[in-house]
Each structure stands twice: as C-alpha cells, then as structure tokens.
C-alpha cells in the first residue's frame, strides 16, 4: 500500500533536533510515514514528543541557528524539501503546503486588517492578480470559512474578532492558494469545545471539497477519532505506533497507546472511580533512557528493551508498531 502514485508526501527516516551548548539533542528520531492524497493523518502525543517539530520541519521552519535537520528525507513532488534553497522553499510555503497555528490570537498581525492579511497570500504567490480580483477572492474565502458579513469583517482588525472567528481567518489564509497539504498544528486547542467542533467540521468539509491532504497534530484523542483516517502515535521523539484510526482504537498494540486509551474516562465507569494514568513522567530531551525510551514507564519492559530502540514491525496490514513485545 505504501507505493503508488497517490502518495503526496513521503517522510523517510527523518531526524531533527536542537543545538544546546554545542550538543545536538534530537527532538524527532528516525520517523517515517507516507501521506496519501486526500488522507487525514493524525499525529498524537504528549507535549514535547516532537509532533510540532515534525510539522515545522515539513515547512522547514525550525528556528535557526539552533534547529538542525539531522538526517532523512522529506519528499514532496519528487523533491527532497530539505535540499531546496530557501527561495524555492519560500515558494512552496503557503502555496502548496500551508499551515494553521495553535494560537489564533497571536498568529494574526495585530495592526493589519483581516482582508489585508488574507490578500497578502495572493500578493506573494499570485502576484499576477489585480487588486480587484484579490479582493474578490478574499471575500469568497471569508464566505467559504463561514464568516458572516465578510465585507465588513474584511476591514476589521484581529482584536475585533472572537477566537473562533480568528481561527476561521487563519484557515482562510491557509487555504487561499488551494494547497495540496494542510498542516494543522493543534488548531483547536485554544478554543472552547463548541467552537472546536465547528472548526473541525469546517476543516473536514473544506477537505472534502478540495481533496487536499491534512496532517492534523493534536494531543486530543477525541479529535483524532472524529477527523483522521490514519494515526501516528509519538512518544519522546519516536514513533510508537501507526495504524488506521478504527484499528488503533479497537486494538492498540503499543503499551503507550494502550495506556493513553485507558486513561480516557468511559461511560461504564462508576462515580468517583480513579482515572487510570501512565505511571512516571516523560523523560526530558536531555536524558532519554538507553534503548526503548518508554521502558521506564512500561509495564511490559523486559531485557531487550534496555539495549536498543525497537524497529518498526508490521503486525497486520497497515498496522505498525515499534515494540519488542511484537518482535522488534
């Protein structure tokens, strides 16, 4: 299934990290995945597990000079994004790969009107359009993302809009050039649950319309189950498990995934049942344990776990796991 024409983005053995006091600490370690056309891929994990670094790396937006792309390839349209010149990369960003950020409050420029900020994308990537056309496109975008009264909203400043509205504007900006890949980095974390549902519906609907692929980054398993086709579970910079969403929820293989799913409250629970949790803490990036990084919190840990990090094993079709329990 991993071959064929419909794969749009291929991440192969990719590692990235940060320089600190002359040493490089890897935040993402040898992850590989393929994104198919029209697919929604969820990346889920705790804070600091490398999911945002993965997203920023695809855009090549790691902060310089501390951020380092260490090894591997990110292949889009037969070109390795990591080898492109900054100028070539600039033309891809916002045009064929777009991104939505977590904080709609701060990701909009506070002193520029909404309309101006949307039409800026056209100024960068579609400079042949006339001003009139840009304005028309901006209006239709605002309508498409469900903003009422777009003509008036265009002339307003970010502080005059609510959080949900702002996130809609961010989505409009990201979709302006009809990208083939949309990276959504926790787009609903800063919003309340009602607005969150609306935004998720909106993304789903827009995806159906345009057929783009979405990489959806979140720590919320509920959101994943609603939205995604396939899921990658990450832990401490490494891939733990990769599976179609139903399979993952029905049959979690990796002890970490199982632990995560166990810690969600269920309807059958009696009142005042103590919620299950995974014992211990996520190790800090500077002192990951040798071998499997989950081993000090894992209930199944046995000898091989201390030696090496387990390699990816295909347990059933499309379901892959990095754990010695299943062979490694």
């Amino acid at each position: 299934m991993d071959s064929g024409k419909d794969i749009i983005l291929k991440v192969k053995n990719f590692s990235a990290g940060f320089m600190k006091d002359g040493e490089v600490y890897s935040a993402v370690d040898r992850i590989s995945f393929n994104l198919k056309k029209g697919e929604t891929l969820g990346i889920v994990g705790e804070s600091g597990c490398g999911k945002s670094v993965t997203a920023l790396s695809i855009m090549r937006l790691l902060p310089v000079p501390s951020g380092k792309y260490m090894s591997g390839e990110i292949i889009y349209n037969d070109r390795n994004l990591l080898d492109l010149s900054p100028e070539e990369m600039r033309l891809i960003r916002g045009d064929s790969i777009a991104m939505i950020f977590q904080e709609p409050m701060t990701a909009l420029n506070p002193v520029k009107k909404i309309g101006k900020q949307i039409s800026e994308v056209f100024e960068i990537h579609r400079s042949s359009l006339s001003r009139r056309e840009m304005e028309r496109e901006t209006l239709s975008l605002l309508e498409k993302v469900g903003i009422s009264d777009p003509e008036q909203r265009m002339n307003e400043y970010p502080h005059q809009l609510s959080g949900g509205m702002r996130q809609r504007v961010m989505i409009a900006i990201a979709l302006a050039c009809k990208p083939s890949i949309l990276i959504a980095d926790e787009p609903t974390t800063a919003l309340d649950v009602t607005i969150q549902a609306q935004i998720l519906d909106l993304i789903k609907e827009l995806q159906r319309e345009s057929g783009m692929s979405v990489i959806f980054i979140t720590h919320d398993l509920g959101v994943i189950s609603q939205l995604c086709d396939n899921v990658i579970v990450m832990y401490a910079g490494r891939m733990a498990e990769k599976a179609p969403v139903d399979e993952l929820f029905k049959n979690p293989l990796h002890p970490y995934t199982a632990g995560l799913l166990d810690s969600i409250p269920k309807f059958e629970y009696k009142r005042k049942t103590r919620l299950k949790s995974i014992e211990g803490m996520v190790p800090s990036i500077t002192d990951y344990p040798e071998g499997c990084r989950f081993r000090n919190r894992c209930t199944f840990a046995f000898e091989p776990c201390a030696l090496n990090h387990p390699e990816e094993t295909e347990v059933s079709e499309n379901h892959r796991v990095n754990c010695y329990k299943y062979g490694g």
């Binding site: 600039r90 891809i92 960003r93 950020f101 990701a107 420029n109 002193v111 960068i124």
Partner: protein, 349 residues
C-alpha cells in the same frame, strides 16, 4: 473615503486633549507655512507694481530691470526707491511692498550711521539690522525655513537608514547583528560635532553636503531602539505565520514588523527634529555650518555674542525665537509620547 483605524482616531483625540502639545503643533505648522510663503511677507521685491496702466507681480520669477519702470539703470529695480519716486510724481502709479521690504542678503548702509541699526518702525526694520546692515527679521524667517527643512530632511534620511539597519539587526541576529553592533559602537564614540567640524573645515559645506555629512554620522541614534523592538516582535507567532505563508525576510520586516513598532519611532521624531535644529545652529554659530551669507540662526547668535550690549535686539530676537521653537517641538513630542502611551488605556488600582 479613507477609513482611519479607530485606534489611530483614539490617539489623535488624546493628542488633541493635551492642549500644550496640540496648540504648539498648530502654531509651529503656521510658522512653517508662513516661512514657506516668506517671499510674500519678507522680501525686497514688491508684491504689486502699477506702472502706466500695467500691473507687474515681481515676487516670483525673473528680475525686472529698472528701465521697465522708467528708471535709469539695467539691474534689478529697487522697489523701495521706486515707491518714493511714484509717490512724488503722483501719476497714479503705485507700488505695494511686503510688510518687511528687505531680503535677507541685502545690506542697507545709511549715510550718517553704522550698522547694526536698532529696530525702527519707520524704516520697517522691525527687529533692527545686523552688523552688515541686513534686516534681522528677514534673516530670522529665512534662517528658520532653512533650519526646519534641513532638520526634517535629515530626519527622514537618518530614520530610513537607522530603522532599516536596526530592523535587520534585530531580525537576522547572529553575525549581521554582531558586526553592526561593533560598527555602531565605534560610530557612537566618534564625537559627532568634532567629526563634522573636521570634515567641514576641509570642504566648504553646502546645504546638501552638510546634510550628507550629518546623515552619515547621525543615523545610529534610532538603531538601538528599533533593534530591541524588532528583537521582541520577531519572536511573536504572527511572524512565524507570515513565514509559513512564504513571505520573504524583507517583506516580513517592512510589512509586518515595522507597523508594529511604529509607535516607538514616532515617539522619537519630535526630539530628533529639535536635535537637528540645534545641531545646525551650533555648527553655524561656530562657523562650520552653511557657508555665509546663507541666513542662519547660528550666525545671528554669533553676532549677538559679539554685540551683546551694543545691539541687544539681535540676541533678543534670535534667542526668543529659538527658545519658542524648541519648546514647542518638545511640547509636541511630549504630547505624542503621551497619546501613544498604552498605560492611559488600562490602569490598575
């Protein structure tokens, strides 16, 4: 119609509510307008001449020789003489002179006295004359015009360079920042006035070359502030979002960062204007500024110190005007700063 940002309207309203600054702003604007129309108010050329049924408007345009008005010379008409001639002849010809009928370059020597001459309403030397017999009011007005426009042009160029470099330092950081920091530190340690004095003792400065020298040595002032502000802004998420759109570095700086730090820049502008005027005056006072006979306050000041008791009118007029202009500029600066101060919007008890 242009829609103005409600925040800008708010700032403008607050600026208006600070009476000192608001009225200073109006008065200074009126002064600048008056100085722009200086030729109509203070000039040796007449406003209107009627001669044998024809009207002449000699204020702007080329000179009209004395022959045209029936006088016996080919050089430019002396309109004050012409007025006397017409009045004596009584033929219906007349001359209307500006309120102060002298230009800043002409020297008037009287037979029975030596300049400087004290103020006299009869001679229309309302502020007297300087040591070569030039009208003080005329020199004051044209000197103001030169000083204020010198200062404004200086400001534009210094800020254009300083803000651009400061922004790039703050945004790019790293080696670019380091190199320019060192350059600026070296530049800062060159005593500004001495450097200009040395340069202008080698070349005799014109308006443009003096401007060039002062821009060359003066752009560093704003750089530090802009650098720091940019440093803070570039960490904000909208900059990352703009990069995710594919915006280039220069676009991010020009379109995203500068509008966000503009209030810092605006706050400094009035003080830089005052600084420009004082610097030019100081150089002129020392004789290293604009070459004489260009009308200038500094040159008037140096005459004032030469004739301090004998001709107090020179010192009195130039010092009064200088204090007035600099105070007004400072008031404007204060009001601008206060109207941009966000603390006024939110207070905690």
């Amino acid at each position: 119609m242009i829609k103005i940002n409600p925040l800008t309207i708010n700032k403008f309203r607050r600026f208006r509510s600070i009476k000192r600054g608001y009225y200073s702003c109006i008065i200074l604007a009126v002064f600048i307008l008056i100085s722009l129309a200086g030729e109509l108010l203070v000039n040796s050329r007449a406003l209107v001449v009627r001669y044998n049924g024809e009207y002449y408007f000699p204020t702007y345009g080329s000179i009209i020789p004395g022959k045209s008005f029936g006088l016996d010379y080919h050089y430019e008409t002396n309109y004050r003489e012409l007025k006397k001639v017409f009045e004596n002849s009584g033929t219906g010809n007349f001359v209307i002179l500006p309120p102060v009928p002298y230009n800043p370059y002409e020297t008037e020597i009287k037979k029975d006295s030596y300049p400087p001459l004290p103020p006299s309403i009869k001679d229309r030397h309302y502020l007297g004359t300087d040591k070569t017999g030039r009208d003080v009011a005329a020199r004051l007005l044209y000197g103001f015009r030169i000083a204020i426009f010198f200062s404004l042009i200086l400001l534009v160029f210094q800020y254009a360079i300083g803000v651009t470099i400061g922004c790039f330092m703050g945004y790019l950081g790293g080696r670019f920042d380091l190199v320019f920091q060192r350059i600026i530190e070296i530049w800062n340690n060159i005593p500004f006035l001495y450097a200009i004095i040395i340069v202008s003792s080698i070349i005799i400065p014109s308006f443009l070359s003096l401007l060039g020298i002062m821009i060359f040595f003066g752009w560093i002032g704003i750089t530090w502030y802009v650098r720091t502000a940019t440093y803070r802004e570039r960490e904000r998420e909208y900059v990352l979002a703009a990069r995710a759109l594919g915006a280039s570095t220069s676009r991010i700086i020009m379109i995203h960062i500068i509008p966000n730090i503009i209030s810092i820049i605006i706050t400094f502008i009035p003080f830089s204007v005052a600084g420009g005027i004082t610097a030019l005056t100081a150089l002129d006072f020392l004789g290293f500024g604009l070459a004489p006979p260009t009308p200038s306050w500094g040159q008037l000041l140096s005459e004032a110190s030469e004739f301090n008791i004998k001709a107090p009118w020179i010192g009195a007029s130039v010092i009064t005007s200088m204090i007035a202009v600099l105070t007004m500029v400072t008031f404007i600066g204060e009001a601008v700063r206060e109207s941009f101060d966000p603390k006024m919007f939110t207070t905690y008890e």
